[in-house]
């Protein structure tokens, strides 16, 4: 993983380390310190932004595992988020279930849906699979809407803030730390998973499923694992989303949400957890960046009604630019920059990249 010159791995322990050199340790601890102390200095707006990033990050990592590593296309991600959110909301409304029940329940719901909609993947590939996951989206949204109208929550379902033991998580700072811990666990889990047997099997399937099968990889099994795992993580995002917003309604889970998740992993760079992190930060912050730049340019107020459309189209435009011109995504750019400065003033071209 590391490319620092003069660094050689001499035993297996070093080969297993996630953080390899001392400078990386220093960077890692600086990063930890920065994110831990961030809410103490940041404004309420910035904390809200960070919480949004953390929320989306779980879903983006989940999609990255499924699409970026296992190579299975999914267009049903918003549907899975909705499934998690609705499981939480319904359990809360009907049985007044606490957070520690709804969270695993949402995960379980995700697992079931992942299993059901992973099953077609055993026969289908590529585009066909994308279409079957698209139908998952519409079916989940329909069921959610039916529940809303049947039970008389036509505008949406209100959810109270979660409670863990004596602690009620309502304050934005508490949310920040809760999600920080969850995100940290999810990322470490994902990083370890993709270099384990399962992750290697996924990458083999992504490369060529027939060849993977010839190597003795049980393709069907690993595809299903990818689907179930990704759905569980996504549904958990949905559960947290429901609690953070305090409000669940089908309108929030449009196809655009799926597109946002897909844009996160594409712009970040497929096949890299770091890419998922970078892409999530970029996509969540993008609309605010556009707002800020519009403020700087002092655009007349009557044009501000067009802001939504401007954000929407620039989102599509940026996605096109990345897909056509920089398929490696933000991670590709970052690696090139790093390689450049690592060996400056010499030219360096990584082998096989």
């Amino acid at each position: 993983m590391a490319f620092a010159s003069g660094y050689y791995k001499t035993n297996y322990f070093e080969d297993l380390c996630l953080i390899e050199t001392r400078s990386r340790y220093i960077c890692f601890f600086l990063l930890i310190a920065a994110v831990v102390f961030f809410p103490l200095v940041a404004s309420a707006f910035l904390i809200d932004l960070a919480v949004q990033v953390f929320l989306a990050l779980i879903g983006a990592v989940a999609l990255m595992l499924l699409t970026g590593y296992a190579g299975q296309i999914s267009l049903g991600h918003a549907g899975l988020v909705a499934a998690g959110a609705f499981t939480t909301a319904i359990l809360f409304k009907e049985m007044n279930a606490p957070f520690l029940v709804t969270l695993p329940a949402s995960g379980l719901m995700g697992a079931i849906l992942g299993l059901i909609f992973g099953l077609p993947s055993l026969r289908l590939k590529g585009l066909y699979l994308a279409l079957s996951t698209l139908s998952l989206h519409f079916i989940v949204i329909y069921l959610g809407a039916e529940y809303e109208t049947q039970r008389g929550f036509a505008t949406g379902i209100l959810v109270d803030p979660p409670q863990i033991g004596p602690l009620i998580i309502e304050d934005a700072r508490l949310w920040y730390y809760l999600l920080l811990i969850i995100d940290f666990l999810v990322i470490v889990f994902a990083l370890n998973l993709v270099r384990s047997k399962t992750g290697r099997a996924w990458m083999a399937i992504r490369g060529r499923d027939v060849a993977a099968e010839a190597f003795g990889i049980k393709v069907a099994r690993y595809k299903l694992i990818a689907f179930v795992l990704s759905s569980v993580l996504t549904s958990i995002t949905g559960c947290l989303f429901a609690y953070y917003r305090g409000f669940v309604s089908v309108e929030a889970f449009s196809l655009f949400m799926t597109m946002e998740f897909i844009a996160m992993i594409c712009i970040g760079g497929l096949g890299s957890i770091l890419g998922a992190v970078m892409g999530t930060i970029f996509i969540v912050i993008l609309p605010y960046l556009i707002d800020a730049s519009v403020d700087l340019l002092s655009v007349p107020a009557r044009l501000s009604t067009y802001m939504f459309a401007v954000k929407y189209s620039s989102f599509g435009l940026i996605m096109i630019i990345f897909l056509v011109l920089e398929p490696g995504g933000l991670v590709g750019i970052w690696q090139r920059l790093r390689d450049y400065f690592l060996l400056w003033p010499f030219k360096y071209k990584a082998v096989g990249r």
Partner: protein
């Protein structure tokens, strides 16, 4: 009787929309997820032309149709051309991004208001009573008529003309086709233009029938199940598939709820994928190709 008429009208509309998916897919193995947006753009073209030229329906329709034809060419020339030879997944993602861009631009230019092109065209959408007391609107009839004309033209075109033959060859095997001197880019561009043309026409008819707003692209998404039931690479399969999906949808409206009709086509899609993933008339080998 009324139910039958509704099914026929909706089925014709689906046929008009779906032939675009199939044309592009057969030629270049790209599933165009921005089809709904292209369709609503066609309708917006009609609206713009109608507003600027006043009540001259024939000229307006011709101009709008030409504009959507050009739109397809432009999309291919400036965007999809770069995705030829890339992984199918990347190309599909580009069409998704293009859809978002087009939708954003549509809202930017025409706002998200409801528009009714008919009131600028100076024609009425009269309703006609058929035998048995069923009612059909003028543009419902137009939908049926243009579906019949378009499919007749496409089938004869593919079968008997040189261009049709070449397009089939490109779809069959692009490598061999280009080795025989067929210019791939030209035929890919033609498939995009034809798809955009037919989608635009469908959009115009739909807009004249029931107004126009950016939410229209949803019809394009609902047309997906039709293509899958047909088999992604089968133009002939679209016709029965469109009527099956229209049947299910209309029955869902009548006997379940309007909400259920939104999801009914997707239930059909899922069932089809489980039983016969390559569709009614698609080729089985197609499953391996994507």
């Amino acid at each position: 009787m009324q139910v039958t008429i509704n099914i026929v009208v909706l089925g014709s509309l689906y046929c008009l929309i779906c032939c675009g998916y199939v044309l592009i897919y057969r030629a270049s193995r790209v599933l165009n997820l921005a089809h709904g947006e292209i369709m609503s753009l066609g309708a917006y073209f009609l609206f713009t032309v109608a507003v600027s030229f006043g009540p001259q329906p024939v000229i307006s329709f011709i101009l709008a149709v030409v504009m959507s034809l050009v739109l397809g060419l432009v999309i291919y020339q400036f965007l999809m051309k770069f995705m030829v030879g890339e992984a199918a997944f990347a190309a599909v993602l580009v069409t998704i991004a293009m859809g978002i861009l087009l939708r954003g631009l549509t809202t930017l230019i025409w706002t998200s208001q409801d528009w009714y092109p008919l009131q600028y065209l100076g024609i009425e959408n009269a309703s006609h009573t058929l035998m048995g007391g069923a009612v059909v609107s003028t543009f419902g009839l137009v939908a049926i008529f243009s579906f019949v004309v378009l499919y007749a033209a496409l089938f004869t075109g593919f079968k008997y003309t040189r261009w049709g033959l070449r397009m089939r060859a490109v779809g069959e095997n692009p490598l061999f086709a280009s080795q025989r001197g067929i210019k791939l880019h030209r035929y890919y561009a033609v498939s995009w233009a034809l798809a955009s043309f037919s989608a635009g026409a469908a959009g115009m008819i739909q807009a004249c029938d029931s107004g126009l707003n950016p939410g229209m692209f949803h019809i394009g998404l609902k047309a997906f199940p039709v293509v899958v039931v047909a088999g992604l690479d089968s133009l002939a399969g679209v016709i029965p598939a469109a009527f099956i999906v229209a049947l299910v949808e209309i029955l869902a409206i009548n006997y379940l709820s309007p909400q259920a009709s939104e999801v009914a086509p997707f239930v059909v899609l899922l069932g089809m994928l489980l039983i016969r993933p390559w569709g009614l008339f698609g080729t089985k080998e197609e499953l391996e190709r994507v």
